[in-house]
Subunit: 272 residues, 2 copies
């Protein structure tokens, strides 16, 4: 892993014990696919980050400066994952965000994860709380996902489907949910809980998917199920609990359309 | 601030960028009142921490070792606040908690905060989400409190009352709520949201307070309102929005009973 840390524009070697990300999860992050020394989805990640800092009241370091540091970090990298972590910065004891906090942010370059041809999903018992104040943004309060992901590991699955506390299917632990019914791709809203995935946003803009409140029955009766995120693209779901799905041309079609716009997502099963 | 950090039993000087507390708020903490080189409420803090590690699946370092390090840290300190932060430890990218994670924990000694004679409360717009999986324990996913506390600061108040997403009064940003009605002290449950405060636990055990679902009207019509936490004891509330309360003998009585058991909480207005 390559790593670099900054306070504002200044390089820092370590994270302080007073960092508010460490103490309260008071920060945001973006996990981005690196392709041939570039981040093809960067403008979308930056837009979500801008939404996040606005809603949490965190200072955003100059994007031009961030972009220059990103460029240095990923230069020469054919494929990988870059994580940008932006914390509010250091603070004293207590929840009150210091008005003059200098954001502390880091860049870490990781190898590309493996891409299974299809995913088996565990139906997670851990629910997502309904919290409109935090829904949509990619903040660092992720204990729900941590607990759900621990369930997935215990179940020996590749991913998990999470429902909200009112029982509605919401998302996977680190991907958005795509449900194919009656010839249309549907994905749950992100105004109550969940993250406004970058790839989900692209699919909605392209008219390739629509937002819809989904029930457990909608998922159970789906013609096809897939997950999407900005690192792995679109991945078919082969199983959820006792329900199994065969390969479906609607998924291949969606993958092909994505690969036309973003070639890094072509042939995901081999990209690992 | 005095600070010490550990991986298990090993001293560490800095926090890694891979720390899961930093990345996901994947940790727990306790904020404890130091009195004459000791932590009178330590057994209660440890009990809550044990509940937290059990529910989050975090390894608890040997309490005897922790206690020895605490003793060294607070030796000779007449009054102060000790914060114990326990993170799951370091991890790779992704939410899955590493099965062999070595917990990283820190101790930080702070001065005692000021103790106003009475608190003016802001009625926070930021709500607490209903999440039984995380309710009660003192985990590090605290963005709701951070946002609520920012509201409190903007309103120029000392604390804020938070309601859950269904409108029920729940707690203050960093204290439990005590509502005096018909000769009884009532405090909201902590099974849906909020933290099982150490002092709240003592009051319940002593039969000095009872758990009750409260409505906004119960608070509005209260004969007296107070907050309690393990650092500041019991503090009267003088104002919530447009509603004001005069000093009430029930609060003085509760403070006196607490001071009998824990002398460090006597005369809070002067303790600063």
């Amino acid at each position: 892993m390559t790593y670099a840390g900054y306070i504002g524009r200044e390089c820092v070697g370590e994270i302080s014990v007073a960092n508010r990300g460490l103490n309260y999860g008071d920060g945001l992050f973006e996990t981005m696919r690196v392709h041939r020394g570039a981040l093809p989805l960067w403008p979308r990640h930056l837009a979500r980050l801008r939404d996040g800092v606005k809603r949490l009241g965190i200072a955003l370091p100059d994007p031009v400066f961030i972009e220059a540091r990103i460029e240095e970090t990923i230069a020469g990298t054919e494929a990988g994952v870059l994580k940008l972590l932006l914390t509010r910065g250091d603070g004293g004891r207590g929840y009150a965000p210091p008005v003059d906090a200098q954001p502390v942010w880091t860049l870490a370059l990781h190898p590309l994860p493996s891409m299974p041809a299809a995913l088996r999903l565990h139906l997670c018992e851990t629910r997502l709380a309904i919290q409109p104040a935090l829904a949509g943004i990619k903040h660092c309060n992720r204990l729900e996902q941590v607990l759900a992901r621990a369930e997935v590991e215990r179940a020996g699955c590749e991913e998990g489907m999470m429902r909200d506390t009112e029982g509605r299917p919401a998302c996977a632990t680190s991907a958005n949910l795509l449900v194919y019914r009656d010839g249309r791709w549907l994905t749950p809203p992100v105004e109550r809980c969940g993250v406004a995935g970058v790839l989900r946003g692209w699919l909605l803009e392209q008219g390739l998917a629509e937002v819809a409140d989904l029930t457990a029955n909608d998922v159970e009766c789906a013609d096809a199920l897939a997950l999407c995120n900005a690192v792995r693209g679109i991945l078919p779901v082969s199983m959820l609990g006792a329900r199994a799905w065969a390969a479906h041309p609607a998924i291949t079609d969606l993958q092909a359309r994505l690969a036309m716009a973003y070639p890094m997502f072509s042939n995901p099963a081999v990209a690992a």
